[in-house]
Symmetry: C2
Subunit: 255 residues, 2 copies
């Protein structure tokens, strides 16, 4: 789309970067691996791919060929109902692994799309499984990463099943904040890479509700928001809301 942007992202340095030199080493698959194992992993990773905003990495129903590690940017994964309703199952930042839900049936049960210009490392699955067999540390790390994905989904289940709208958004904003911080970026102020619609499809809300909540949070001094730029102003109160101790009469259930 944008020629200028396109030229900027084709960056020799990033294409050459190997796992052992990657700044995401401690967040990604390499975690816990030694020098020789890292070299073996590098041999398996076929190429780095750049996606522009809106480009799809894989589509629902595609056969599983590779897993993908996000190197930069943000992707969303979306499930689809027959009548067109969308559920965003996750936003994926640098260091996170995509496609593991396809291992079960060798088919991707959801689509993955870049929300901004993004880079991913492609890891052919057959080769990865083979290597995991030879390198116990990699097998272990794969189990952990898959387990983490399950935990993440369960957190989202709690949000969708038992939280009201404001709790969901507060929880979501804090999650973004934490993940940005883990990447060494300022966690208090960031730019959302997804639309209100995407957020709604993630939180199980209408886009209008998301928009209203942003406005309300700002009125109440919890955040400052200007379009997609968000600045968290009162983490304590956000945490209180996200944890279910918000000022609103929550529909808690006693035992």
């Amino acid at each position: 789309m944008n020629k200028k942007e396109n030229a900027k992202v084709i960056n020799i340095a990033s294409i050459k970067a190997a796992c052992k030199d990657c700044n995401l080493r401690e967040l990604c698959l390499p975690l816990g691996l030694g020098e020789p194992d890292l070299t073996a992993l590098d041999k398996v990773i076929r190429r780095r791919r750049t996606l522009r905003k809106g480009e799809q990495l894989y589509r629902l129903g595609d056969p599983l060929k590779s897993l993908y590690a996000v190197r930069s940017g943000t992707l969303k994964t979306t499930g689809l109902m027959e009548d067109g309703r969308v559920q965003v199952t996750g936003f994926h930042l640098a260091g996170e692994l995509l496609g593991i839900d396809a291992i079960n049936t060798d088919q991707h049960p959801c689509s993955a799309e870049a929300l901004e210009t993004s880079e991913v490392c492609e890891i052919p699955y057959i080769a990865l499984e083979e290597l995991a067999h030879q390198v116990p540390g990699l097998q272990h790390q794969l189990f952990r990463v898959m387990s983490r994905e399950i935990v993440e989904d369960e957190r989202l289940l709690m949000m969708l099943g038992r939280m009201n709208a404001e709790e969901r958004l507060a929880s979501c904003l804090l999650s973004f904040s934490r993940r940005h911080e883990r990447l060494g970026v300022n966690g208090a102020a960031f730019k959302l890479s997804m639309s209100r619609q995407d957020l709604g499809d993630y939180l199980g809300l209408a886009l209008e509700t998301v928009s209203r909540l942003f406005s309300r949070f700002q009125e109440e001094g919890l955040i400052e928001v200007q379009g997609r730029h968000v600045h968290l102003r009162d983490n304590d109160r956000l945490h209180a809301i996200a944890g279910g101790n918000g000022n609103s009469r929550s529909h808690a259930q006693r035992n």
Copy 2:
């Protein structure tokens, strides 16, 4: 609680049953393993444990020691919010693996409780990971089982985020039906092992809403229901509702 029941379930035959003789062989971890590997797996599985209704297999925060394969009965796994709100993250029938969400942090992020008298096989995790390293088929099957768990959670996300109440229940009933069938039981008529409250905590609904839906489905000739006994009467219409083609004006989103 019930001495008579207790005596009945301590059953020599079931305690002795090894993986290679187990009728769940094709649904559980052994899938795809040959005779010698099965014997190795049997050596790792420490003991079979019987849980009575209401008994907990593990609690939120417990350290990960073992994974558990359900041999008979039904368990539920539940996440908890600070203020007591509950989200049931899954109902687990025979052949399903419990505890894999604990691998990430070596701590169980949810609790597991028997909904009826149930048997589980305990599989010490360290030993399992060790064995998976030696037996590629087992490693592969573990990846698949974990991936399946993720897919299952994503299905639930779609339900909680984008389906209305009747779609959720229809979808849930059909899921039970399919799973009963896979176990060789009649999928059209079964007894629910969980309360309306549990179903509500799973579907993100109030227990009263679940109860009303059962009544409505019965009125409409979709099912027959008598307390916890359910008989599916019109699978086609149930499927139509679950897929979002129900007669109610669905809140579909066009692209």
